[in-house]
């Protein structure tokens, strides 16, 4: 990997996105994400937070402005990016281990190396016992774990997560939040995480970007200076509650405008 050490992981400069001749979905977005930073995008529906992820992934093109990922165009940087969708988006005809290996398979990684990687990842996310099960046999939380393991399989430097835990119950969500932090501590990827949940954003992030809708634009930013390692007890601390309250207050502002 010839990662440009000095360059930020993501540079978004005055990006506007418009579908057809309709109203702008995003307007003059400027955002820089440093290497190994965990940034959450949060905001009400229609603020274009998922669109930003698609632009970074190169799955959509901006109407104007530029996006650089590790100094490259998003398309050229794809090998280093993994995307986790809101639904687990697993292939139902493949077993758990075959799903985890999908990315490696598409990138023509030899099968013996693939198997080793898959075994390691299933161990990492605690799914070894269901390696040969099919997605329909798994709970929502387990499916999401498979999805995360699949994203990690290609050894990404940048993880883009689009409300991955929105459909889960609170218990599973909290546990997966802790797991995400543990995985990141081990692997040191950069993350852009889209969510509706303020407490989730505070728990995970180094920085929270609050977006306002119609058209989608950056409204405010918060640095979250909670110490690592963050564990479940953090959620009951006054510092945690204070940040959640501040971010929530700002979120409500975006709606009142």
């Amino acid at each position: 990997m010839n990662a440009n050490a000095s360059a930020p992981e993501i540079e978004i400069a005055s990006v506007t996105k418009q579908y057809g001749s309709g109203r702008a979905v995003l307007e003059s977005i400027g955002l820089v994400v440093a290497k190994q930073e965990f940034v959450s995008l949060i905001g009400p529906s229609g603020c274009g937070k998922s669109t930003i992820l698609k632009l970074i992934a190169g799955l959509a093109a901006p109407t104007s402005g530029t996006i650089r990922v590790d100094g490259m165009t998003p398309q050229n940087a794809r090998e280093t990016i993994s995307f986790v969708f809101q639904d687990a988006t697993l292939l139902p005809w493949r077993t758990v281990q075959q799903n985890v290996g999908l990315g490696l398979e598409l990138e023509h990684v030899a099968s013996d190396r693939r198997e080793k990687e898959i075994a390691g990842l299933l161990d990492l996310v605690g799914l070894k016992h269901v390696a040969k099960s099919y997605p329909r046999e798994l709970s929502g939380g387990m499916k999401m774990r498979v999805s995360i393991a699949r994203a990690l399989a290609t050894n990404p430097r940048l993880m883009l997560l689009d409300e991955p835990f929105a459909a889960l119950d609170e218990m599973s969500r909290d546990r997966l939040n802790e797991e995400i932090l543990r995985l990141r501590a081990e692997q040191n990827w950069t993350a852009v995480f889209v969510t509706h949940s303020v407490s989730e954003a505070v728990f995970l992030s180094d920085r929270i970007v609050v977006l306002a809708p119609n058209p989608g634009r950056i409204h405010a930013e918060f640095r979250v200076d909670l110490p690592a390692p963050r564990t479940s007890t953090l959620r009951n601390s006054p510092e945690f509650d204070a940040i959640v309250a501040r971010v929530s207050h700002t979120m409500r502002e975006t709606l009142r405008q």
Partner: protein, 263 residues
């Protein structure tokens, strides 16, 4: 297990009631046997004419299976072509509807003229009549892929071939089976109807449709009933075979796939 036994018992009870009703109608209305033979006469006709019955059955089975196999191969290829672009679909899809709406009886004489009477002509008719559902369902399965799955593949710089063979085709398999299930029934009907028009009169080449025609002209009504029974058995066997294959290939991952006896 108990549930299944009850289902089987129910089916047997209904069958017995129908046979009884049949016999009662014969007694009450004094129907002559050339119009409606007794259940007993039909049951006797089966072993009595067994070799010729089996021969007719085998020929019709061959024609239907041949037609169905051809429509699966051709149907999947056409669907793959249709899946390439919306433009192609818009232009050509109406013609598959044509396949479905043109009454096969109307074109049977034409096929007779081109191919001549016999097994190939009937196979062709079974093929034509069973093609449309395969094309329609497979195309649907190929194009209705979750957008995020396509995005996932794109994120790994998947090639067109990878998108087709690792995503679109497996995604279409359940729909393909729905198509085959519909097609299997009409392939048998197509073959029997085809034989009425294009069946061969050569010795040992008459399928069920041809033999039905022959039996009715000879007023062998008991044999005619036995032939109809055989046709029903054939249709059912096809359906069960397809449903078994569907279950075998899909039950591990697909929700709609149920054991054959559950339907």
């Amino acid at each position: 297990m108990k549930q299944r036994a009850i289902t089987v018992l129910n089916a047997i009870a209904v069958f017995a009631a129908l046979v009884l009703l049949w016999q009662i109608i014969l007694w009450v209305f004094r129907v002559p046997s050339y119009m409606l033979p007794s259940p007993w006469a039909v049951a006797r006709a089966v072993p009595a004419r067994f070799p010729s019955l089996l021969n007719s059955l085998a020929i019709t089975a061959e024609e239907s299976a041949g037609g169905l196999a051809a429509s699966i191969v051709v149907g999947v290829l056409v669907a793959l072509f249709f899946a390439q672009s919306r433009w192609v679909r818009k232009m050509l899809y109406p013609y598959t509807l044509l396949l479905q709406t043109v009454p096969i009886i109307a074109i049977a004489p034409l096929i007779l003229m081109w191919v001549g009477a016999g097994i190939p002509a009937v196979t062709l008719i079974a093929f034509i009549i069973s093609l449309a559902p395969i094309i329609a369902n497979t195309t649907q399965g190929l194009i209705s892929v979750d957008e995020n799955l396509v995005h996932l593949f794109l994120m790994h710089n998947a090639s067109r071939a990878q998108l087709l063979f690792k995503l679109r085709l497996p995604n279409a398999v359940p729909d393909l089976f729905v198509g085959i299930r519909i097609a299997s029934g009409i392939a048998v009907i197509g073959a029997i109807t085809g034989e009425l028009f294009a069946g061969s009169s050569r010795v040992g080449e008459g399928g069920l449709g041809y033999s039905i025609l022959y039996a009715s002209s000879q007023l062998q009504t008991d044999y005619l009933f036995a032939l109809v029974l055989a046709a029903t058995v054939l249709g059912f066997s096809f359906l069960f075979l397809v449903m078994f294959l569907e279950w075998y290939f899909l039950h591990r991952w697909h929700e709609s796939a149920r054991a054959p006896e559950a339907e």
